[in-house]
């Protein structure tokens, strides 16, 4: 979606402000928001692309006014409510008011290290061959789906070069909507700065994005 999250190339957000000796978390509630989000992935049954869509799928006015973990929390609440795991009145009351929905598994302390170590690899077996090879000129398609996509607006319509054939990976556009993993070949595509930003762009810069095959066409 062309939402508040698609920030590449936007102006007006001001300078980057690195914080000296920044702590990992700025407040206790941030720790809890972080841990809850990770812990609910297992019983909740959603995937990372659904989580990302849940976070970005809100008014850009809200998205841009919220802090990072506020967005995480809002995304988590949306997912919990959508799936009927928690109801709005329960969040308001701060207590469970209805019978919990049965879930397959929950994350036990003993599983934490193992789960984190395993992560969520997205590479999949395939019997198809990649359409593009290293060095090919490709163009990012002009697509504007209202649902989750990982093709940022600022590269759409622009031509670049295949820099790396990564492998066959879960396709987020499909996975985010529950339409299955639909794995697709994934490439790193390199764009010249002036191709993206016009003749006034910095001639010494190049930008690479990782792009699935359905995002690309021959250029």
């Amino acid at each position: 979606m062309n939402g508040g999250q698609d920030l590449g190339g936007m102006h007006g957000h001001g300078p980057v402000k690195p914080e000296p000796n920044e702590p990992v978390f700025h407040d206790d509630w941030e720790k809890r928001a972080f841990a809850l989000t990770l812990a609910m992935g297992m019983p909740g049954g959603w995937n990372i692309d659904m989580s990302r869509f849940a976070r970005e799928n809100r008014s850009p006015a809200d998205y841009l006014a919220m802090s990072y973990y506020q967005i995480w929390l809002a995304g988590l609440i949306d997912l919990l409510e959508e799936r009927g795991l928690v109801a709005e009145d329960e969040i308001e009351a701060g207590h469970s008011l209805h019978t919990p929905k049965p879930v397959k598994r929950i994350l036990s302390p003993a599983d934490v290290a193992k789960t984190l170590h395993r992560g969520g690899p997205t590479e999949r077996e395939t019997n198809t061959a990649p359409v593009f090879k290293r060095g090919d000129r490709v163009r990012a398609k002009n697509i504007n789906p209202p649902t989750h996509t990982r093709l940022p607006r600022y590269v759409r319509g622009h031509a670049g070069i295949i820099e790396r054939v990564i492998g066959c990976h879960v396709f987020p556009d499909s996975n985010a909507t529950g339409a299955g993993e639909n794995p697709q070949w994934l490439y790193t595509v390199r764009f010249d700065g002036r191709e993206l930003w016009g003749p006034d762009g910095d001639p010494t810069m190049q930008v690479s994005v990782d792009a699935w095959e359905p995002y690309l066409e021959s250029a």
Partner: protein, 219 residues
Amino acid sequence: MNGAADMGGMHGFGAIGIEANEPVFHAEWEKKAFALNMAIGVANIWNLDAFRFARESLPPSQYLNLSYYGLWVVTLENMMLDYGVATKGEIKAGHAQAPVKKSKRTIAAADVANMVLCGSPYNRPAPGPALFKVGDRVRARNIHPKTHTRLPRYVRGHAGEVTRIVGCHVFPDSNAVNKGEDPHWLYTVRFDGRELWGEGSDPTVRVSIEAWEPYLEPA
């Protein structure tokens, strides 16, 4: 600039909030905010393009969360500070503090009707012949100025057709940064919806914009 004002094609803002029997103003202060801006405009301390630039330069999170006239008020404050009309102290105090510099030009009540009727035309004598004619295929240039522009992001890089030569008009990109009116030929350019939004989009949609000659190249 690629700021929050450039909304064309963004997702996530939700349904149109249609208000039945909407009043012209929703609060007394809105009337004053409106009239103050009109009246101070006549004093010619800044031009309309500079005002628009100041308005869209607000951080996107602020821009998107202010009401319409709230945006005007905040921008007016910023312009008054930037152009030395008032000091921070004065704005905080809500009063002019000595010494009061009197303005040369104000609008009197008797002038209002005249101002409303005459407006402020933007057409200027042409410095040369128009480069394009009606029916020409043109492409909106891929430019990303950090300052004011009236070329929305969603048309950049896309090809359309000149449907009207409007005339020679003040160039906002220059006027907004007080670099003079620098008039250029202005065209209406029509784009096919699928050219803008991709193959799958509504084939019955055409979108027209006004584009100054420096925004365009032959396609």
